[in-house]
């Protein structure tokens, strides 16, 4: 006799969530910050995420932050920073792609404002990763 298995883990997802239920919202959340939440009818949260990520990204651009490129550095740590920074920049989705397409390029130079700009650009991408994870959790029924 097949045993009926039920999950007892709090917040655990239903067993059968089709790929299409979460894939498109997560892709949308990556491409346009907040779009995943809009697709899942969480409009208030979508607006707040969109405003926060877009504002951080544009503040980063206006402060002339540096976009990372995936290249090997002189040492291991520099390589990790370059690849990690590139992944974080890329996580901002269309914002990053459009900025690159329109030729945004800033050389790394000394100065607190430039440095803050670089951190804003990276953080915008990382916040978008949080939003994507949130969308995945909502779409798979792990959270409301």
């Amino acid at each position: 006799m097949a045993a009926q298995t039920t999950s007892t883990v709090p917040g655990a997802a239903p067993a059968d969530v089709p790929l299409t239920a979460w894939l498109w919202p997560v892709v949308a959340a990556w491409l346009a910050p907040g779009a995943g939440h809009f697709l899942l009818k969480r409009n208030g949260r979508g607006v707040l995420i969109c405003v926060s990520v877009v504002a951080m990204f544009f503040l980063g651009l206006f402060m002339r932050g540096v976009m990372f490129t995936p290249e090997k550095g002189a040492d291991y740590l520099t390589s990790v920073i370059n690849y990690g920074g590139f992944a974080a920049n890329l996580s901002a989705g269309a914002l990053y792609l459009l900025a690159s397409m329109f030729g945004y390029s800033q050389i790394d130079m000394a100065g607190a404002v430039h440095d803050y700009g670089t951190k804003f650009l990276v953080t915008a991408g990382l916040l978008n990763v949080l939003a994507m994870v949130d969308v995945w959790e909502i779409a798979t029924g792990r959270k409301d």
């Binding site: 917040g11 995420i49 926060s52 990520v53 402060m63 607190a112 953080t123 949080l130 939003a131």
Partner: protein, 61 residues
């Protein structure tokens, strides 16, 4: 493209604000919990900002 020059405080304040909003939204399950956690994160950011700022000033002599 416009260029802006923010002070350390302005930049850190805006960073704290936007980060707290997203962390609040994505970390908790109910509206009240989100609001509370977001506000908590923001307060921690600001306390750390002033704390580390003063520590650097005093440490610098």
């Amino acid at each position: 493209m416009p260029k802006i020059n923010l002070s350390h405080f302005e930049a850190a304040f805006l960073f704290s604000l936007f980060t707290s909003i997203v962390m609040g939204i994505t970390s908790k399950n109910t509206q009240d919990e989100r609001l509370k956690y977001g506000a908590q994160c923001f307060v921690y950011f600001i306390v750390a900002l002033f704390g580390i700022g003063w520590a650097m000033r005093l440490g610098h002599g």
